[in-house]
């Protein structure tokens, strides 16, 4: 027992005696987790999302085109300003603006006529920065709503709209290609629109004017509710970022344990250890325990910091979280030993293990949640231990799941611990080189 405790104590002394190692293992993940947590929403409403920068080139200058720009300007997610075509192209190319909308000449007239299918649809050109595909999709969605609202408003209540309706009715009379029945029905519809428009122009009809001043609107609205650990408990993005960064940096710590053991094998210290009456179980077991203790301590400090500074609560089972953290810490230690067992030279082993670690971190969802992965990759991630660790930690913190939900992650992590441990024991080269 004296020997075992001395081996563990030595590892802890060396780790905590190295300020740089402690900094990298504790302070850096805290900083990165805080940063990513803030970027991905932080505590609800904490991080104001930046607006999409949009430029408008109005070549029409009609009431409708001006109204469209004014309508887009009311969107809280957009920042829109008028610009010339050449300048707009240059700004988008340089990444200073996300997209530019070119509203062509006669857009107002053509859009009004196209609304009732009597004319070709005008085209709004969208110039966009290809690195902002997601934002451009959002802009197109908002543009559709704004165009519908602006054009319909003008058609139903504006003077230009009334002229366009009259014009459409006149052209409809001359349209010999449309069946007579359809022509009559459409003329009646447009006539109704004209009557409505004229009625709204009348000063006696203020109430109706108010009612339709916004044009056609979406006939529904949505109400969102984030499903977290309970009603009125808001999602805290820091919970996931601290879990993700904790997992990443502890894996790197495990990698260091493996590399250190590999390096140790080439030193006199390894000869001294092997010359002493120590069993192999004790040598590897003590290193597993010390690495797991360090990993557990790092996770504790990270979650304690997240709790104190960012209000990350353990909404689920605390024993479950402790279990997941302990299982992940043991898995990391076994991973380190496996690296030491399989490694040949320090340099090549370091390269391969960094690659393996980054894959595990990436596929485990520490950087981005696994739901953004394609289906096959999500299935593949089931075989990555970090995915289970992060899922377990998320489950016990912001998802508020019970102890039973921690059992699967704990079980899978322990299976990986066993697998890595067996490989380490079988492949470890005990004799000095």
């Amino acid at each position: 027992m004296i020997q075992f405790l001395a081996l563990v104590r030595r590892d802890l002394l060396i780790f905590f005696g190295n300020r740089k190692a402690v900094m990298v293992s504790i302070v850096v993940p805290i900083v990165l987790a805080s940063f990513f947590g803030y970027l991905f929403g932080g505590r609800r409403g904490e991080a104001a999302t930046s607006k999409v920068s949009l430029l408008a080139i109005d070549q029409d200058g009609s009431d409708i085109s001006r109204g469209l720009i004014a309508q887009l300007a009311t969107e809280s997610t957009l920042s829109i300003k008028p610009e010339s075509l050449e300048t707009a192209r240059e700004l988008v190319r340089k990444g200073k603006a996300t997209a530019a909308l070119v509203i062509p000449k006669d857009f107002g007239r053509d859009a009004g006529q196209a609304l009732f299918g009597s004319s070709a649809k005008p085209e709004i050109e969208v110039l966009y920065d290809p690195s902002h595909n997601v934002e451009v999709s959002m802009v197109k969605g908002l543009l559709s709503g704004a165009v519908m609202q602006t054009v319909s408003k003008e058609m139903f209540s504006g003077p230009a709209g009334r002229e366009m309706v009259n014009d459409s009715i006149a052209r409809l009379i001359d349209d010999s290609q449309m069946p007579a029945e359809d022509r009559r029905a459409l003329r009646n519809l447009l006539g109704g629109v004209r009557d409505w428009n004229e009625r709204l122009q009348s000063p006696q009809n203020g109430a109706s004017q108010q009612r339709l001043s916004g044009g056609l609107r979406m006939p529904y609205s949505t109400r969102e509710e984030a499903i977290t650990s309970g009603r009125n408990i808001e999602y805290n993005g820091y919970a996931h970022s601290f879990a993700g960064m904790g997992v990443q940096f502890i894996l790197f710590m495990g990698l260091d344990v493996g590399i250190a053991l590999l390096t140790l094998r080439q030193t006199g210290l390894w000869q001294r250890l092997r010359a002493a009456p120590l069993s192999r179980t004790m040598l590897l077991g003590s290193r597993t325990l010390s690495a797991a203790l360090i990993a557990g301590l790092i996770l504790f400090v990270l979650f304690a910091f997240a709790r104190l500074v960012f209000g990350v609560h353990v909404r689920g089972s605390l024993p479950g979280l402790i279990g997941v953290c302990a299982a992940f810490s043991l898995m990391t230690a076994a991973f380190g030993l496996m690296i030491a067992a399989l490694g040949e030279t320090v340099d090549t082993t370091r390269g391969y293990s960094i690659m393996a670690t980054l894959f595990m971190v990436m596929l485990g969802g520490a950087w981005v949640p696994t739901f953004v992965f394609p289906a096959w990759l999500q299935k593949a991630a089931m075989f990555v231990p970090t995915r289970w660790a992060i899922e377990g930690m998320d489950g016990m913190t912001w998802r508020g799941l019970g102890l039973s939900s921690a059992l699967a992650p704990i079980g899978v992590l322990m299976l990986f611990t066993l697998l890595f441990g067996i490989i380490a024991v079988l492949r470890f080269r005990w004799h000095v080189d």
């Binding site: 020997q3 405790l5 081996l7 002394l13 030193t267 092997r274 010359a275 009456p277 004799h431």
Partner: protein, 311 residues
């Protein structure tokens, strides 16, 4: 105390140790002398239990080391060639850890640590981090680390590599003290002066094989020469040693760093003729002296190679 019997160890095509046998009694110091790569460290590693031999055996007081935790290992203290210290820990923390590896703790460990530090002259530096130590101090602490459990056999693998002469002397003094205390020392080196100063018996190893195993006096008797004439030449580049070897009564000839060393049986009888030949053939010299043949000469005689050239 220690019996090494017909040890052999191969790495693929390379035979690192080839049938090495020797014995060491209580209080004896055995020197394993040979150039780098001769098989000294492999032999020590097998004796310490770090390596399994392909054949042969090592007996300590008649018992073999049968497992990692065999109590027989308590009789051995290893001073590895590479520094076996934690630079980031203090000298005392290092020794506390090494003591614990042999289940020493508390007052017993403190006493052993103080005694070891005192022996190597580092008691006043016990609380300093090893990273602040000089190379010589580290070597002495490296030695102290092997003494804590009071082993009967000390395996010292080139314990003076890279240290200054002062520290080397300090280590020699420590080893002589240990020898007086009855410890058995197995000392590997490729420095003949060290082997000559410390060892009761010297085992000369080359290419994994023992080429001689005797006392210093016994090894000298193996030599075909009794004296060496050393001549410092003015223009050593003009002389070929082969020319000297062809002269009568010359047993060995070596020319290094401007000094011609010629081994002869009868110094007073053979030296005048040799010096005359040098003068007659235009090889002027500015200093002449005589030397007793050393282990370098023994190695040269037995292997046909210089010890230092080989290393």
């Amino acid at each position: 105390m220690l019996e090494v019997k017909k040890l052999a160890k191969r790495y693929g095509q390379l035979t690192a140790v080839d049938g090495i046998s020797f014995n060491a009694g209580r209080g004896q110091t055995i020197g394993l002398l040979g150039p780098n790569g001769a098989g000294k460290t492999t032999t020590v590693s097998i004796v310490a239990g770090l390596l399994q031999p392909d054949s042969g055996e090592v007996l300590i007081d008649g018992a073999k080391v049968t497992s990692d935790t065999d109590p027989v290992k308590l009789k051995i203290g290893l001073v590895p060639q590479d520094m076996a210290l934690y630079e980031e820990l203090s000298a005392r923390d290092n020794l506390t850890f090494f003591a614990a590896l042999y289940s020493l703790a508390g007052a017993k460990a403190r006493s052993a640590i103080d005694e070891a530090l005192k022996l190597v002259g580092l008691l006043d530096r016990a609380s300093y981090k090893v990273s602040t130590f000089s190379g010589g101090m580290k070597r002495r602490l490296n030695l102290a680390g092997a003494l804590l459990h009071d082993p009967e056999i000390l395996l010292l693998d080139e314990p003076t590599v890279g240290v200054d002469p002062q520290s080397r002397n300090a280590i020699f003094d420590n080893l002589e003290t240990l020898k007086k205390r009855g410890k058995t020392l197995i000392y590997t080196t490729h420095y003949m002066e060290e082997a000559e100063r410390l060892c009761d018996r010297i085992v000369i190893i080359d290419h994994g094989k023992i080429v001689a195993n005797d006392t210093l006096q016994g090894l000298h008797k193996l030599l075909p020469i009794s004296n060496v004439l050393a001549v410092e030449l003015d223009q050593p580049d003009r002389l070929k040693t082969q020319q000297i070897m062809e002269l009568p009564h010359v047993e060995t000839a070596e020319l290094k760093q401007g000094v011609l060393r010629v081994g002869v049986h009868n110094l007073s009888g053979d030296a005048p003729g040799l010096l005359r030949w040098l003068s007659d053939n235009g090889h002027t010299y500015h200093h002449v002296s005589s030397e007793q043949p050393d282990l370098e000469t023994v190695f040269l005689t037995l292997t046909g190679r210089s010890l230092r050239d080989s290393s």
